[in-house]
Each structure stands twice: as C-alpha cells, then as structure tokens.
C-alpha cells in the first residue's frame, strides 16, 4: 500500500492476477517509450518479446534472454520455456474481489411474479442440489421453473398445484444451513 501524499498515480491493487501452478502472481505491464516494463512486487524490469520466425519467440527479462513457445487455449496460456511448460490462467478482477458467498444464503424462494402453480417436483424433507427443479409456476402464458439455488433439504412447500399466489409470496423454503 502506498502512503498518504505519495505522488504515484495508480496503486498496485488492480495489477493483473495470474495463477501459475496454483500460486497467484500479481503483475502489470507498462510502457516506457517504445519498450515495456514488467512490474512484479516492488521491482520494475524491462521486458521484450520478439518473434524468431520459426514459431518461437525470444523473451528478454532484464538482462536474461530465453526462447519461448506460447500457445493459447481459451482462458489458458501454455508457455514452454527452458525445457519446462507452465500453464498460466488470468483471474478476472471483478470475480476475484467478488464475495464467494454470493447467492445461496437465502432460505426462501419467493414468487418473482403473480401466478399459479403447475407442478411441484419435491416433497418435504427431500434433499436437493443446485439446479434441481423444485416447482413450475405459470404467469403471463410463461412457465418458469423454480430451481434449487443451493444444496439443502426442503423444509416447507408453501403452495400446491393449482394454487395462485401474489408476487413476493413464499413458494418453498429450504432448511437453514448449519455451520460452514
């Protein structure tokens, strides 16, 4: 963290995050004239990457140079360097800083709109997994499946087949989660 009054613009918090062999690395590439500088931890190292023409590239990091082969596969980048292969995965900052507990904390499924129950697929006490269809409701000519939003046991089914309900009415409750 930088101290108050320090004249640097841009902190280190939003450096890119990469995962290599289960370890997280933070890094940032900046421009200096026509060249690039890699910022890792407190260091700023001049770097360059130049194609050799035969599919390989020459990577210079500070004063060291090596031949590298790079292959991209979706979100993964495979790098072959000095006889070893590393797989690098980019971590999206919005996901990285997001709460891992998002969703799943609630116990009650509430009606997203007024409607009628068409089918109930679960009984009280039944264990469900995320994505299981709990019940199907119909509103405005549209059938919507109410799906399990987390693991758990069905505590209460509030409405039965053919029953109508208002928006916000409880449809089904899962037993509260105990412990982490």
């Amino acid at each position: 963290m930088r101290g108050a009054g320090e004249p640097r613009i841009g902190g280190d918090l939003m450096r890119h995050t990469f995962i290599i062999a289960d370890a997280e690395y933070e890094a940032w590439l900046s421009r200096r004239g026509d060249a690039y500088v890699l910022h890792v931890a407190e260091e700023a190292i001049p770097v360059a990457l130049a194609p050799t023409g035969n599919g390989e590239q020459v990577l210079s990091v500070g004063s060291e140079t090596s031949h590298v082969l790079v292959a991209t596969d979706g979100d993964m980048v495979h790098v072959h360097i000095e006889g070893s292969t590393f797989t690098i995965r980019y971590v999206d900052p919005v996901q990285r800083y997001g709460s891992h507990a998002a969703g799943g904390a609630e116990d009650i499924a509430e009606a997203p709109m007024p409607g009628v129950v068409i089918a109930v697929h679960v009984d009280q006490g039944q264990r469900v997994s995320p994505g299981d269809t709990l019940m199907v409701i119909e509103s405005m000519k549209l059938e919507t499946a109410i799906k399990a939003w987390r693991e758990g046991a069905v505590a209460v089914v509030h409405v039965g087949v053919g029953q109508t309900f208002q928006r916000g009415a409880p449809l089904l409750t899962l037993a509260p989660q105990t412990g982490p």
């Binding site: 979706g74 919005v94 405005m140 549209l142 059938e143 499946a145």
Partner: protein, 535 residues
C-alpha cells in the same frame, strides 16, 4: 467483460430432447430453403434454356466474388400464398460482395411465372430497396420480369408502398449518392422499364434484353404499328439511339463481367467509426443453441445461454445485473463489433422496462449498435402494475426504441407477443434487419388465449339464442380458430408476409448478425435525441 458461465447440462434428458426437436426443425427449414432456391417445374427450366438464359441462382453466383458470403433475405417470402406456386415471391434478395464492395441484390426469377411481379414480389423489392436506403448499400438489379401479375393488379399498383415505391426508392437512393447498377437480362416492360432507367449504370444483353413501356402486342393494339422486340427496345436501340441503356453485352456472362467492373468503380463508403476488436469465436458452441431452445414455447429459458453462443469468447458485460432481471442488458462483441444486447428473460415489469429504456440511451450515447433478442409474452398486467405505471414505463421503452439513432437488429428467438414486440424493436420500429428462428411465434396475443376469447364470444352468442353447447361442440368451435391462429402466428407465415427478413437456422445467427452490423455501419448516425418520455 467476462465469460458467461453456462448452466446448461449437455448430458441432461431435457437438452437431448430439445436438441432432437430443434434439429428436426432446422432440417425442415433447410429443405424448404433448398426447394425454394432450386426446385422448378421442368418446363420452366427448359423454357429458360431455350431462351438462352441462365437460372437466377447461377447469375448471382457469377456476380459475387468467389468464396464470399451471401446473406440471402426473405428466401421463403410468399411460401404460404398463391398456392405455394411462387417460390421466394419470384424475387431473390440478398447482401453479398462484388469486386470487394458490399452490395444488395434484387434479382427477378424468370423461372417463376416468367418473373411476373405478384403483390409480395413488389413488397420484397421495396423492402430490398428500403434496406439499401437505410444502410446506404449499392444495389445490383438483375432485371428479367414479365411485368406485373395482372389478375392481382389492384394489389400491386396504386398504394403508397406498392410498385411506385420501387421507383421512388430508386430515385431516393440516387439522391443519397448510393449507386445502382442494372443488368437487363430479359424484358423490362411498363413499370419494369424504369428499373434500368433509374439506375446510375445499366448493361443490356443483345438478343434477350429489351426495355420498353409497351411491348409489341400493346403497340400493335394501340397504334397499329408492327414492330419487333429488337426494333422497339433491344440492346442496340437503347445503347446507340435512345441512350436509355449504357453498355451492350453479347451474352449474360459478359453483362455480369461489365456490371462487376462498374461496381468496382463506385466509391468505397466510409464506415461509421465504432469500436472493433480482433474477432474470436464463442467459447460455447453455437450448435448447442438447439438444446437451449425449449420444445414448448411456454417454457422459460435463460437468454444468457443464447448470448453465450452468439458473442465473441462468450464474454458479456451485464448491465444492472440485479435490477429488472426479466430484461438482460449488456455489452459484448460479435465478430469484433461492439454491440449492446437486450434480451428478454420473462415478462416486462416496471423495473425491466425502465432498465431497457435507460440502456438504449446508453447505447445511443456511446454509438453502439443494439441487438434485440425477443422472447416476450408482453408487459405485466394487473392492478399493482397499472398503479405503478406499467403502461407509461412501456411507453418509455417505445419512445427510446423509436428515437434511437444507432442501428438496431432484432432476432425473434421464441415468442413475440403483444406490446412486447413494440418495446423490443419489432418490425414497425425500423430495425435495420429482423430475423426469426424456425420455432418462433408472433401474434397480438398467444394462440390459446385468442382462441379462448373468440370461442367464448361465439358460445355467448349461441347461449343468448337459448342454445347450450356440449364439450364436443365447444371443441369444434375452438379447434379451427386455434388452427388458423397457429398458422398465422408461425415463423413461416411471418416470413411469407415479409414481416421479417428471413428465418435463420439458430447457429447461423452470429454470422448473419455480423454481416448485418457491418452493412449497417455504412449509414451515418445522428446525435442522440428523443421525444418526450412520460416520467
């Protein structure tokens, strides 16, 4: 922007059944396309070869740059009309590349009733030229028409959007500086004579091509003058004497080669400067769309599963992910073009309507073309919602969609019912292009609901006359209504009437959208401005 995490279970029974069902519909669509494009009675094809004329599809193939894509529009126009005997309404329309330029083609199909213009042929040509005007697309006309289909003359001639509109649109294109090249490959009689005359450049084939206001029989009847086709309006008459045509050609191949050269000389349009990145395919296979679309139109599905199979790397920046969740809004790239996407995820409520109107303003502000993915049963009804102003919130969406300056492209992915069609850039709201998926339905209300309403009225009428009806009698009233309603709300009926620009096989949607966006960027756009939003 990050990848949408698909929740689709590719191993599930549901996916498998959807996939089988929708692949069947896609096969049927491909077969209809094939038959419309290629199947003709032998006598019509023989007549063409006797006249030394090429089949319209071969002419187009020769015109286009080899190996380039051709986005055919309204292939199945008129498929439910005229006893099914006028495939494609006798007109081929589509966007392709000629000598490196994006152009739109209007081609008369002389293998269908001698290329006569039926009411839907006129509608298709007018639509083709509307697309040319809206997107500043140069036009190549392949003229080979017997003229208006006289038994239906009342439906092709006098009204605002009938035949006269073709020539009005040609004149407007010229005024806008959008060039047209016509190739006269057969007779251009009466109104049809103006198509080459109103084009900047035209080419006429010696022997088969002719242009005249009245053909020899009409001249004979009117004035008693005996004259041959060539003397009256052949290639030499018009290129040497009258100046109505520019370039004589000795055969169709040469005429097409001259036309290609002419198109190559037109100025290259400057495209609208919008954000573009290097295109990449979606992470999720577009073929999986077959398993996403439910077999029953009533069953809800997550439009994000569709978006994930249309956009580059399946990456999507979702706007207001927690607000108005029945309308999904956000930014993505399609073949590198930045787009704003609005997709239905249920009924439109007050909050989702406000979100939609606001998001459209964001897209206009940042000059981002908008893609509408329709699957909409309508706006929510009921006391609570009226009290909260559902009608005025829907009106805000309509105000925003109508006032938008950036190009809009609409895909009807499933249902398009009631006012939802309006707020989501239905045909009346001038999307640059509107496509449908084969299973989709479009009508003012659902078939079941409409059949019930209509049957109820009949039943009440009869009961006023003191008659009560058995269940079986009610069914005999309801069934035909339901059947007719279903027919008229099908994608095939819609495309027959040119309510859309064609039915797409869902995995092709990404490519069609990319071509549509690319041509849409030919036209300039104004600064954002709108009418009054009722607050």
């Amino acid at each position: 922007m990050r990848r949408i995490e698909s929740k689709l279970d590719l191993a599930s029974e549901e996916f498998r059944l959807n996939r089988a069902h929708n692949c069947g519909l896609a096969e049927k669509l491909k077969e209809r396309h094939r038959a419309t494009r290629r199947e003709r009675p032998a006598r019509d094809l023989e007549r063409l070869s006797r006249q030394n004329k090429m089949f319209v599809r071969d002419r187009i193939e020769l015109l286009l740059d080899p190996g380039t894509p051709f986005l055919e529009l309204s292939t199945l126009a008129a498929n439910t009309e005229y006893g099914g005997e006028v495939p494609g309404a006798g007109i081929v329309s589509g966007i392709g590349i000629v000598n490196g330029r994006e152009i739109i083609i209007h081609a008369d199909d002389a293998s269908v009733k001698g290329g006569a213009w039926y009411p839907l042929s006129v509608k298709k040509i007018v639509r083709t030229l509307d697309i040319a005007i809206e997107n500043r697309l140069p036009v190549v006309h392949l003229c080979d028409s017997a003229g208006g289909f006289l038994p239906l003359q009342a439906d092709i001639f006098a009204d605002r959007y009938l035949a006269g509109r073709i020539f009005r649109n040609q004149s407007i294109l010229s005024k806008l500086g959008v060039p047209q090249v016509a190739i006269v490959l057969g007779h251009c009689t009466a109104g049809g004579a103006y198509v080459p005359a109103l084009s900047e450049y035209n080419v006429i084939v010696r022997g088969t091509g002719a242009i005249f206001l009245g053909g020899p029989p009409l001249v004979k009847a009117a004035t008693g003058e005996d004259v041959t086709v060539d003397e009256l309006g052949g290639a030499d008459v018009h290129t040497r004497i009258s100046g109505t045509a520019d370039y004589p050609a000795t055969n169709e191949e040469q005429a097409i080669a001259i036309a290609r050269e002419l198109v190559g000389q037109t100025p290259r349009p400057t495209k609208l400067d919008v954000e573009q990145i290097a295109p990449e395919p979606p992470y999720y296979d577009p073929d999986e769309l077959y398993g996403v679309i439910p077999r029953d139109i009533k069953v809800q599905f997550d439009v994000r599963e569709v978006i994930a199979r249309l956009v580059d790397r399946s990456r999507f920046h979702e706007y207001q992910p927690a607000y108005g969740t029945t309308l999904i809004c956000g930014f993505a790239h399609i073949w590198g073009f930045k787009v704003g996407i609005l997709g239905n995820n249920g009924v439109l409520f007050n909050d989702s309507s406000l979100k939609g109107a606001h998001f459209m303003q964001l897209c206009n502000q940042s000059r981002v073309p908008m893609i509408f993915l329709q699957n909409i049963t309508g706006y929510m009804v009921g006391r609570d919602y009226e009290h909260r102003g559902i009608t005025k919130d829907g009106a805000k969406m309509i105000m925003a969609v109508s006032g938008s300056e950036v190009p809009k492209i609409t895909v009807i992915c499933n249902g398009s019912f009631g006012a939802g069609n309006y707020g989501m850039a239905g045909r009346a709201f001038d999307p640059r292009f509107l496509f449908m998926w084969p299973q989709s339905q479009i009508s003012v209300m659902g078939a079941e609901q409409a059949a019930n309403v209509l049957a109820d009225i009949k039943i009440r009428q009869l009961s006023r006359e003191g008659r009560s009806l058995s269940v079986a009698e009610v069914a005999t009233i309801r069934e035909p209504i339901l059947e007719e309603y279903r027919r008229q709300s099908s994608a095939y009926y819609s495309t027959s009437q040119l309510w859309d620009d064609g039915i797409l096989d869902p995995p092709d949607t990404r490519n069609a959208l990319a071509m549509a966006i690319s041509v849409a960027l030919n036209a300039p756009i104004d600064r954002p401005h709108y009418g009054v939003f009722r607050m």
